[in-house]
Amino acid sequence: MDFEKNQVPLSLIDSEDQTFRITTETGIDDILDSIKNVGLINPPILIKKKSKYTIICGFRRIAAYQILGLLNIEAKILGSNDRELDCIKIAITDNSFQRPLNLIEQSRSLFMLSGFFKDITSLADAASSLGLPCNPSLIKKIINIYHLPSPIQKGILSNTISLAMAVELGAFEKDAGITFARIFNDLKLGLNKQRELITLINEISLRENIPVMKVIQESNFQEILQNDEFDRTKKTEKLRFYLKKRRYPSIAQAEQDFESLINELKLKNGMKLIPPKNFEGNTFIIKLYFNNLKELQDHSDTLKKIIQNPIFKKQVSGVGD
């Protein structure tokens, strides 16, 4: 591939044409400082299209030159006969061999390449030679990110949303995916809590044949989400509780009833009553912690009262009663 090195007037460079842009970085402060101190080390690469030049790589360098008010920039000019695929490869290589690409940049790169390969195997081969992921199933996931709405892509860039979660969000209607991304970002939820929230909301929606957005827009949900008196942790806790109650009403009620029973029993410090897991088995556990005979005697007195409590009797009434 032949380059011609030339001084190109900035006015002839079409900065609006983002066809070959890989980087997600838009800030140019670092480059400005570098150019001011040592000048342009690595000239941008351009290709002539009609009367203007399209940028293949060097978007931020050219932006820095514009800010500095310079009129011309030294650039490498590709022959106009060079194929688009070659331009894409140059654009990717210029980024991927300098620094690790983030997921969005990988997605852009793979998407740009994908149009030129008829199957995933040949795409994977090409990706590998350009420093991109080469596992076909990973490529399929990453490439789909390119089509996700901007808030989800931003969540990926800010590390709020993982690749796995981005794929899940991509399966929702656009507005639902965006709303989830915003909630995750606002509440700073980790992956497990994101999954829990999505699963609960999605299953409510599927069970009741209503759109996901309708579940999210329900007043109880929104009241928690928009309550300024709650911090993020409190909001998360309340949302999870509300959704669990909505998804599993009988189970949530049983847990609440058991909580009321514990309060009613007025258990002393050092005494714990644990129900059977999921209320499925029949074995209740009482744990006693004591440091001396007096404390053990106190526990004994409390136990006697507990055993006489009618609500407790009903709760533990099993097969043998």
Partner: protein
């Protein structure tokens, strides 16, 4: 909902090279008249199934004729956490041509494929050994497959029914969702074969049990079998909880007793929907419209997902009271429930009545004329 019988031409047969000369193979080939391929091992068949977009669906269209390299007679895989009925499985084949959303076999076999075991001599030897023990035994073919789907291709039921008719310690249960009973009409059964149907509400059958017979058709078939002298059994399993389900199940019970007489029912079992967690993603993918996985499930003591216990008990109480109001003497039992559920739903626990296996043995003996003293 697709209730059309399967188009036989869409099947493909694979024959294990070791059984090519089996006397069972040719009659099957002549009935099916579809392409057959001899394979060196099962892997070739599994590969053909696994490469499909929907291996479960593909596995329903491939019939693999092979030998049962393990035991034909096996213990039913119960768990120690829930009361098991000590049933025996007659392992004549695997998988099913019908397509129920909740079917555990979708995730039980890797990959799932219709297999029919043609080593009839080994089957017969094991049955002879079982009968020689002279102890009461309940055994069925409907655990890893539907008992009656093999009727259109094989003489299996004719062989089994007549084999069981010539002894008096064991009873065979043929459990089905089909109406493939015509061949049973002329068989000498000596009441040693129980014909059993899985029953469910019309909503569940229509929404979740693809390519099965309708409720009305199943009950009509049951009435015919009763007319031919067969003892009957019914299994409400899996019961699915949904709005209005209790009324629907009561309706099914009403229909059941308007078709058959309670005196001829050996047992009725009840079991609510339970599944290994891995089945959930399969149902989601293969049956996206199904809502059965969105019930209130907890993980049970055996690791399976089950309805929250109070919900199960409430459903059982309702259904049992209705059965008892019509047929107070019919033996009702639970498949895989614990003593608390038994006590709260049926009013007793099995150990108070000699244990569940003993209760079922007694009913089988009474209805089928079992007699271990010869």
């Amino acid at each position: 909902m697709n209730r059309e019988p399967d188009n036989l031409s869409s099947y493909k047969i694979y024959i294990d090279k070791d059984v090519v000369d089996s006397s069972q193979v040719n009659p099957i080939l002549s009935r099916l008249k579809v392409p057959a391929v001899v394979v060196n091992n099962a892997r070739e068949v599994y590969d053909a199934v696994s490469c499909a977009d929907d291996p479960v669906r593909k596995g329903k269209k491939i019939l693999f004729l092979t030998r049962n390299k393990g035991d034909f007679i096996r213990k039913c895989p119960g768990t120690r956490y829930y009361t098991c009925c000590d049933y025996k499985i007659l392992h004549i084949g695997t998988f099913c041509t019908m397509d129920c959303s909740y079917c555990i076999m979708q995730s039980y076999f890797h990959p799932p494929v219709l297999q029919y075991f043609v080593n009839r001599d080994d089957l017969e030897t094991e049955l002879n050994n079982l009968f020689a023990k002279k102890s009461i035994c309940r055994i069925g073919t409907g655990e890893f497959t539907d008992s009656m789907i093999w009727e259109m291709w094989t003489d299996l039921s004719a062989f089994l029914v007549s084999k069981f008719s010539r002894q008096s310690c064991a009873v065979l249960e043929l459990k089905t969702k089909t109406t493939a009973i015509e061949k049973l009409k002329s068989l000498r059964h000596n009441r040693k074969t129980i014909i059993a149907w899985s029953l469910n509400t019309t909503k569940v059958i229509e929404d979740e049990e693809l390519r099965t017979a309708s409720l009305a058709a199943r009950l009509k078939a049951a009435a015919k079998c009763e007319e031919w002298g067969y003892p009957l059994a019914f299994h409400f399993d899996p019961m699915i909880i949904y709005d209005g389900c209790e009324e629907d199940y009561r309706g099914v019970i009403g229909q059941l007793f308007s078709h058959v007489s309670s005196e001829n029912i050996v047992w009725i079992s009840l079991g609510s929907f339970r599944f290994m967690p891995s089945l959930k993603s399969i149902i989601k993918k293969r049956f996206p419209d199904s809502k059965i996985i969105y019930g209130e499930f907890i993980q049970g003591l055996d690791g399976k997902m089950r309805y929250f216990k109070p919900l199960r008990i409430k459903l059982y109480q309702n259904i049992i009271s209705h059965i008892r109001s019509i047929a107070p003497d019919v033996l009702i039992y639970f498949c895989m429930e614990d003593d608390e559920v038994w006590k709260k739903s049926l009013g007793f626990i099995p150990s108070e009545c000699g244990g569940l296996p003993g209760m079922l043995d007694e009913s089988a003996a009474r209805h089928c004329g079992l007699n271990v003293v010869e």
